[in-house]
Symmetry: C2
Subunit: 212 residues, 2 copies
Amino acid sequence: MTRVLLAEDDIELSESIVEILELEGFDVTAVNSAEDAIEVSLHEHFDIALLDLLMSGMTGVEAISNLRHNQPFLAVIIITAYATVDTAVDAMKKGADSVMTKPFKADELIVTVKRSLAEKQLLESRGDLDADLVYSALANPYRRKALRVLAGQKALKFMDLCRLVEIDDHTKFNFHIRQLKKAGLVMQNANKLYILTNSGRFVLTNHNLSSD
Amino acid sequence: MTRVLLAEDDIELSESIVEILELEGFDVTAVNSAEDAIEVSLHEHFDIALLDLLMSGMTGVEAISNLRHNQPFLAVIIITAYATVDTAVDAMKKGADSVMTKPFKADELIVTVKRSLAEKQLLESRGDLDADLVYSALANPYRRKALRVLAGQKALKFMDLCRLVEIDDHTKFNFHIRQLKKAGLVMQNANKLYILTNSGRFVLTNHNLSSD
DNA sequence: GTAAACTGTGAACTTTAGTTATCAGAATTC
DNA sequence: GAATTCTGATAACTAAAGTTCACAGTTTAC
């Protein structure tokens, strides 16, 4: 069951959020300060946290890094009545996944929570990807370069890709592209041209490959 | 010199921004569409891009991933007259580093640009990380687990960490932790306890290590 | 103070990654 | 249709990663 941590010092709003989310099948733990949220997160696992921005004591945004300390994959939504573009930008910079303005409708809340979870899910569930293979595939500069080249073009012939990666020995390059295929980052289309897989594209954009 | 790419289709505003930034010593290239910005970024290097959200054709936000494609460390600021919390959140999710609402004063612009550059600098200074070493360090499940464990706790003794990673042979574990140290992801504090380096924490949160 | 557990080092070994060379069928070119 | 380039398999080799073992100084427990 998906576990939600709610930190909100407005009792009425808190109760109403709990009700909405429990009806949707979430398991909600409600506290009324950022400090309590951090305390609870030391002992229990949560999938997502809803934090009010302004509470007595620490703000929701200040709590984010503490919470992530214990639970790196925690999704975080900041709730606030006084949201401006600046506060929203600041919250996102500090690690929030989304910002909601009070008051909101039940639907909005549910959609936002589910979307944030889905986005985390996407990251967390490498799906068909084997992390060992992916990282060891990325551990070689030729292969990172090949991925970057493929991301730029759409589809390339073996020899063209080889030349763009600047490997003179094509059989050596053949070895590396096979590693990439084995890791599921690269495949060949119907015409035998090399293209990135969806996983490959995902890894590339997500890992922010440095350009060596 | 710091190079700025400006994409803004309001000629007057564009000229005024160019003037403000050039007075501050920036080297500004102005275009009037997202498409042109992408085109220019293929051939020239920029440190930061200021993109209007709404232009004829592609939006500024849509252009972000294309721009980053060529220049992974590009800082991006989105400019818009119609910013709501939702559009700001969306822009940040899609990779913007900041969002500014029109109209803005010269001071605001300069502060925002300089701050965004400073924050990127911080990331880019992770240039002390050797990508080969980092990826090959991450290519082993024991080592990923050690990183995750260290992210959860603050500091651990050798044997405690070893047990948490569930390696029975401590000399084997010793080998792996040395790999992590060599990659700059882990270090020992004054009391010889093992902790994540800043780079290690950065890699961990940024790569969103799958939980095997 | 002594036994036990902790925190390593270094060498020998096994396994995997990466390179190079040779060859061969398929597709293109002329 | 002959020559040439493209694409790839295979084997033999070298380099690097990972494991295991033997040992030793340090700290902690009793």
